[in-house]
Symmetry: C2
Subunit: 235 residues, 2 copies
């Protein structure tokens, strides 16, 4: 059918709006079939994570720190105090060239147990973002970024808490990283044992790894008249 | 009591065996009270994690990749194929100076919801290891490392799977990173709202974040006579 050929062509020339353009840094050397540049997939992996791991170079050596982040469209915001080392290095985007960073998010979905030690693996979803971070200086963008950081932890929470005041905003630094050079990597499914190992007497399969939330613990000083809001009970 | 003075002296001069010595890189610029150099704490945080985030420098820019790891005493092993970029760069410890790395592990334990947006936080436990990685070339150490990698995913699993053969060992590269320049960082407890915010009508407290395992899924090609072993049922 000629329709099949058309479909194939379409799938190979992605609409630019739907995918990130691969670069030397975002094409993995191993397991290329697990790589994806689909924006929707990348967003879903990012939005599900509570922390990212932010890498930067200090005195020639790598540093990797876990940190809160938020997303607004194709832009990530990472939070810190104005005194923190990476944020000072990022500058304000005008007087400084910005800070080269690599921001990575990973979810472990399953333990993949093969008959052979060699084929043990994890099921996972990860996103790696390469780019240059700049400090957010525009007051309006800073407010948007801080709301995004709070709503990333619990969607809807920024509207149900006291917004930052002038003193707090002055003590808070946020860096911006555009989603441009980005890839996702996903492994799903069961173990891939070699055919000659299938008869070995070892249990083989996947142990799912699950995340979840426990019962909310009110603050010691919470007024008992303040009920648990619906968006928290629904987590 | 003179005994009290003695105790104080002891607590300030840690036994070298129990703690890592702080360095410029392992003393945080923020929230120093959350830092710890206790080896037992560091080990427990590392051992609970399925992946670490490994940072290194490539062409002057940072790279952060999620990867499996294992621990044997005060030594970490990170796994990869012989063709992977960081492993090639690490060399064999004799012909190459090794690869400067930063290896970070993070557990999120709770969402800390304050009345003020500013005081929102996470409860977490993290470990950051700085050092120089070298490729493992000794065959005996390589076998030990591969067992540790498998047992890190499920304790006891290396004894219940087929060990690597010569071909598999040749295709596997492992790098070694000594636990030497190491710190943990831990946040626990409820929100720290400012006194003037305590009467605000926002729910405040902690939403615990829990990890767990789902029901094991046997491989499609698993012989039905192979029962789920006890160490997996107990996860």
């Amino acid at each position: 059918m000629s329709a099949a050929a058309d479909t194939s062509t379409v799938s190979e020339t992605h609409a630019p709006d739907d995918t990130y353009t691969p670069t030397d840094r975002t094409v993995p050397t191993r397991s290329r079939q697990r790589a994806s540049y689909d924006k929707e997939l990348v967003h879903s992996i990012l939005d599900e994570a509570y922390v990212c791991h932010l890498g930067f170079v200090r005195d020639g050596a790598p540093v990797v720190l876990p940190t809160l982040f938020g997303r607004v469209g194709e832009r990530l915001y990472v939070h810190g105090s104005t005194g923190s080392r990476p944020l000072r290095a990022a500058g304000d985007g005008t007087s400084a060239p910005g800070l080269p960073v690599c921001l990575t998010v990973t979810h472990v979905d399953g333990l993949v147990l093969a008959r052979s030690a060699f084929h043990h693996s994890l099921n996972y979803r990860s996103v790696v973002v390469h780019g240059t971070a700049h400090q957010v200086t525009d007051p309006e963008e800073l407010r948007t970024a801080l709301d995004a950081l709070v709503d990333h932890v619990v969607p809807g929470r920024s509207a149900d808490s006291r917004p930052g005041n002038a003193k707090e905003l002055a003590a808070t630094a946020v860096i911006r990283l555009d989603l441009d050079e980005v890839s996702a990597k996903v492994r799903t499914g069961g173990p891939n044992d070699d055919p000659e190992d299938l008869a070995l007497p070892y249990w083989s399969g996947v142990i799912p790894v699950q995340g979840g939330h426990g019962t909310p613990v009110p603050a010691d000083d919470l007024d008992p008249s303040v009920a648990l809001p619906g968006y928290l009970a629904a987590l």
